[in-house]
């Protein structure tokens, strides 16, 4: 019964949102705006459900004694931010923004920059011109890397122009092919979801 009701709800909301796109009537616009607003609100609740799940999981692992200190650090950070926001607010020059600027931003940037090393080591292992496609991949990456780097003695105007042409034409063509495929695939999947053919989101069999 709930499955049928959920499928009907999905169909109605899908149809309404699809049909309203073709209307400029103020009611249709208002409906679109309202449903998108509802969407954001429900999404916020799903995020909170996810965070609650993370807390419950961490507390369970804490009780079981698994990597206690790291779980405490995660939970501490999670509790600290809302606590600071409640006491001092989230405007500039508050402890909340201080933590964001001096803890979260540098940590995120450094973790992101770590990937430079792993990408470099992966390319050493993976970039072997064993076949024509692998050779083209290697050549394309090297041309872009050299044209965008400022290594003394490796700056050639023709290489920069060629790299720009490569990016704007053959690379763009493949990107367009992929984007058209994504577009058509998304439309098909959306139709399957609205019509109730695709039901994996309901869970179960």
């Amino acid at each position: 019964m709930t499955r049928k009701f959920a499928l009907m709800t999905c169909f109605i909301f899908g149809l309404v949102m699809f049909v309203q796109y073709f209307s400029n009537h103020p009611t249709a616009k208002l409906l679109n705006q309202s449903i998108l607003e509802y969407w954001q609100i429900i999404f916020a609740f799903t995020l909170i459900v996810g965070i609650a799940g993370f807390i419950m999981n961490s507390v369970r692992e804490l009780r079981e004694g698994e990597s206690k200190i790291y779980k405490l650090a995660s939970l501490g950070g999670l509790i600290l931010m809302p606590l600071l926001a409640m006491i001092w607010g989230i405007k500039a020059d508050t402890p909340f923004t201080w933590i964001f600027e001096n803890v979260q931003v540098p940590l995120q940037a450094t973790v992101f920059s770590l990937l430079a090393f792993f990408v470099a080591s992966a390319s050493f292992r993976g970039f072997r011109a064993r076949s024509i496609p692998a050779g083209i991949l290697l050549a394309s990456a090297i041309i872009i890397l050299i044209s965008r780097s400022s290594i003394p003695g490796f700056q050639f105007d023709f290489l920069t122009d060629f790299a720009n042409w490569l990016r704007s034409n053959p690379a763009m063509a493949a990107r367009r092919g992929i984007l058209i495929g994504i577009g058509l695939g998304s439309v098909t999947t959306s139709l399957r979801v609205i019509l109730g053919i695709e039901r994996t989101w309901l869970g179960g069999k």
């Binding site: 959920a6 796109y21 429900i42 950070g77 990016r167 058209i180």
Partner: protein
């Protein structure tokens, strides 16, 4: 005056960089702090910008009773924690999935498919009467990439050769994307190194 922000950010940056040696407790601690702080930050921002600004203020301040719908739907998400009533969480999920699919169909057709096709279909001869090589490359690239992703017919003979050509275009795209990814990671790494050497350790000016 001691700049505690720089000291904290510097220590945490170094803690993350220790991962280059191998996985260690310092890195794990920095990672756990990042997870906790990031979740806490997201929770605060979502609470303020979505739940307070879009739901609680208009609902309880301006008495917009229509907002009771997303409030109830959002609260139904918490039924996931009660195994007896967890089926109720499928209703808000149905609203999100259905409306998302309904919006996606026209948007995907317009933005992902039609715009990409119209940008590809360009004059192949320039105003001077000479063939436009770039436009020709793009057209051939898009068609061959799409044929590569067309799996309803076996890639043999003419179709196979075109699909093979599509592979070359895809390799150029992947190589270029890889090059840009490496460059973006490198610039982030340079930024972190500059911070460590200049702001934190004062070794360079």
């Amino acid at each position: 005056m001691i700049d505690w922000g720089t000291i904290v950010a510097g220590i945490l940056t170094l803690a993350v960089l220790t991962f280059l040696y191998r996985d260690n407790p310092l890195y794990k601690m920095a990672e756990s702090i990042l997870i906790g702080i990031s979740i806490g930050y997201t929770l605060v921002i979502v609470w303020q910008t979505t739940l307070v600004d879009l739901l609680f203020d208009p609902l309880f301040g301006d008495s917009r009773l229509s907002l009771l719908i997303p409030l109830i739907l959002g609260l139904l998400m918490f039924s996931r924690f009660l195994s007896k009533y967890s089926f109720l969480s499928k209703i808000p999920i149905a609203v999100m999935i259905g409306s998302g699919a309904g919006v996606a169909i026209p948007v995907m057709i317009e933005a992902r498919t039609m715009k990409q096709i119209s940008a590809t279909v360009a004059p192949l001869v320039s105003s001077s009467g000479m063939p436009d090589i770039s436009a020709l490359v793009v057209l051939v690239g898009v068609i061959s990439t799409l044929i590569y992703f067309y799996f309803s017919r076996e890639h043999k003979g003419f179709i196979g050769r075109i699909a093979n050509l599509g592979t070359y275009f895809l390799m150029i795209f992947f190589g270029a994307t890889f090059g840009y990814t490496v460059m973006s990671r490198m610039s982030t790494l340079i930024g972190r190194m500059e911070f460590i050497l200049t702001d934190f350790l004062h070794l360079t000016q």
